[in-house]
Symmetry: C2
Subunit: 116 residues, 2 copies
């Protein structure tokens, strides 16, 4: 065979996974979505809910997430102006990934402590 069967099957899975990783990769993107999804809608709230994130990094990540339609930045005029972040219908489809990662992360800890 010109191309191995396993290679073809592998590519069919790897390609979309890479598309997902390209958008979700990094230390902060999913934590930020989790935080906003949990109800933290203000910048300071989000920052306080994610230990270790700096304002510069948070601002950059928020912009990228907005560009990818994973969050909405909503400005409400008034005194003072209110700025809030919300998840989108699109980012709501991320929860299967997040829960899968959460479950696996919990299990991974057990696995490491058992064997090492």
């Amino acid at each position: 065979m010109a191309v191995k069967k396993a290679h073809r099957y592998c590519l069919d899975t790897v390609k979309p996974v890479r598309d997902a990783l390209d958008v979700l990769q990094g230390k902060w993107k999913l934590p930020i979505i989790i935080s906003i999804g949990a109800g933290n809608d203000r910048y300071t709230d989000i920052q306080d809910s994610i230990p270790g994130i700096t304002p510069k990094v948070l601002a950059k990540e928020l912009k990228e997430l907005e560009q990818h339609q994973l969050i909405n930045r909503v400005i409400t005029e008034g005194y003072p102006v209110k700025i809030a972040y919300y998840t989108t219908a699109h980012s709501d489809t991320l929860w299967p990934i997040i829960f899968a990662l959460k479950d696996w992360g919990l299990n991974h800890r057990k696995q490491i402590f058992r064997k090492v």
Copy 2:
């Protein structure tokens, strides 16, 4: 309340997700596991099945994956010596994550083309 409810809930999810990301993060780890899981057990097979990966990077990633008990490196004596890589029971538990990422990646493409 001293700590917002949303912060507490957020942390409960973020922490295990970070544990998972710490191990799985990067451009190549999941693709390599997918490739080995698809039946590519030889070094060259894996390399050929993942477009763009260089031998140096592949070697480094394989070592890290082995350390995290996500793959086994099996040496079979003989002429010539045979070296093969296999998934582990632990890495088999990654498939929910992989399939979730695959589904989301496919859907994300559609989403992007629709809106932009």
